[in-house]
């Protein structure tokens, strides 16, 4: 029988308190690990290059609302902007390109956006990445050509069981109960390859087909041809670069100039989204605090378990000393038991935490299209184990010292 076997024997002989200590540490660690992972992935998702748009030209209103609608297909655009204004903005030397879009329709809970077809060829949803319909990328079909054609994002197609040739009637609005364009049947001709962005959750129709939907008034329908009175919800803008990949510094002047207008504003997603993150950052700080508290409570439980076990094991430890164990050996037993429990709890907790992220990521992906990965290695995955081992050692200091100072003869019943 060696030292390691003695440690495990001791842990097994107090299997209930050992298991409870490991489980409570695991739960605290799982909470901590999952919160950190979700927070880091959320931050990454929300700040990844503005999801393809350097800037969004939109109507007056909340910049956050405009960003959420244009990039995440949430909320609604507060108003419309004139097509002529969009064209004027395109003429600015700072603007390289623009892709206009119209939001406000839906199908079975998924947003239906009317958009310029260059969205599928010129728009980079991530640096260097364009949308694809190729089968080898996971896509199907092609970009729409006619007015009664549509393409679906990967997640929308999966959830709604969309296949090529299937038809639908768009709803005029995004809320339940909004009227349906019953006389406008649109056919799916393409399914985009998955991108891991919210664009997977949208359905797209040609920009001009929006105006021709039956049910829109004649003033809207005339916009299909009358550019002077045409309106759009907004446009994704590509800003010129200087010195490689640096955004043209004139973007701030452009933003200032547009924002003085009574009809439009320029929103830079990379300025807006971190502010959103700061707002929700409070929430996750609170959750982190709770997770830390749970972990510390678990370590306190470990401390109490060790102290209690020590009281019951005094004679056993004295017997071990009689058999030849030194003071350091019995102290080492206590420390190793604690290390085992805190280490096992940490590893188990990290595994459970990744499991929590896996479950959560499915829910988040279904709701927002944002991808979270259970295999993502967060900063917590690297510091939790060493931190818990250190804290486990700290929790064991008092009982270990008590074991060290254990009086052998005092704890053995001797009669002479």
């Amino acid at each position: 029988m060696n030292f390691r076997q003695i440690v495990f024997k001791s842990l097994r002989s107090h299997w209930l308190s050992t298991s409870l200590a490991i489980l409570s540490i695991a739960l605290g660690v799982a909470l901590l690990d999952s919160v950190v992972s979700l927070r880091e992935q959320t931050h990454r998702n929300l700040t990844q290059e503005g999801l393809g748009a350097d800037a969004i030209l939109g109507p007056k209103g909340s910049p956050l609302q405009i960003t959420l609608n244009a990039l995440y297909h949430l909320e609604e655009m507060p108003d419309k902007i004139p097509w002529t204004y969009y064209r004027k903005v395109l003429e600015d030397e700072v603007v390289a390109d623009g892709i206009p879009f119209i939001t406000g329709h839906s199908y079975a809970g998924f947003r239906v956006n009317a958009i310029d077809e260059r969205f599928f060829t010129a728009f980079e949803y991530l640096p260097g990445r364009h949308f694809s319909f190729r089968p080898e990328d996971g896509g199907q079909g092609r970009i729409f050509q006619g007015n009664k054609e549509a393409v679906a994002g990967y997640e929308a197609a999966r959830i709604l069981h969309i296949s090529l040739g299937k038809t639908f009637n768009p709803t005029c609005g995004v809320n339940a109960g909004d009227p349906v364009h019953v006389n406008d049947t649109i056919k799916f001709v393409g399914i985009m390859a998955p991108t891991g962005t919210p664009h997977d959750r949208a359905i797209y129709i040609p920009l001009k087909s929006f105006y021709t939907l039956e049910g829109h008034g004649s003033d809207v329908q005339s916009m299909a041809v009358d550019e002077d009175h045409r309106e759009i919800s907004g446009a994704y803008l590509k800003i010129r670069r200087i010195r490689g990949d640096v955004l043209h510094p004139g973007i701030q002047d452009l933003k200032y100039n547009i924002n003085q207008s009574s009809r439009a504003q320029l929103v830079i997603p990379n300025e807006v989204l971190p502010r959103l993150f700061n707002i929700i950052g409070w929430v996750d700080s609170v959750i982190m605090g709770i997770a830390l508290l749970v972990t510390l409570l678990a370590l306190l439980f470990l401390f109490i378990a060790l102290i209690t076990a020590l009281r019951e094991r005094r004679r056993d430890l004295a017997l071990l000393r009689c058999l030849g164990a030194t003071r350091r050996t019995v102290m080492g037993l206590i420390l190793c038991e604690s290390l085992f429990m805190s280490g096992t709890g940490a590893i188990l907790g990290i595994a459970i935490g990744h499991g929590v992220v896996w479950i959560g990521s499915e829910l988040i992906r279904v709701e927002t299209g944002l991808r979270f990965s259970a295999l993502y290695l967060s900063s917590a995955d690297f510091y939790i184990l060493p931190a818990l081992l250190l804290l486990g050692l700290l929790a064991a200091v008092v009982p270990a010292v008590q074991a060290y100072r254990l009086g052998v003869l005092k704890n053995l019943t001797l009669i002479s």
Partner: protein
Amino acid sequence: MFVGTFVKIMSATLLAAVCCGLLPGAEKEDGHKAYHHGCLNALGTCENGHAEVRIDGDTLKLWFVGGGTDTNKAVRITNKEIVLEVTLNGQKAPSEKLVLKAVPNSLAEEKVGDCSQFEGKAGWLRHAKRFFAISTITLKSKKQTLRIEYPDGYDPD
């Protein structure tokens, strides 16, 4: 003894936090931000409005913006041009005149006579490190002295 030391340390930490802008009190700094990275010159008082001035090479750009914390909002004036009497650093009397022409922001439907941006060119601007300029504008239908202290800005408050 320890309580006293603890209180002192906490107070110092709190003070440092305020200075670093960690507490809400620091938000005021952002409101007086010069949006175009120029210097802000109050139009009479800070609340009235500001003239933000920036020199790019031989061009002086001037934006009329809001008072208080609204320095990112344009304020239009009816002047078609502004003539600045400029006293260069080290001199006692105005030695230069600079004419600023209206540059309407077409994206905000501005036009000459209803404009917030002005520009003027001069060779001496290229080497101007410090100067004082004065003129008169019409702001909200009233005559208003335009006083520019470059590069520090002018804030009578």
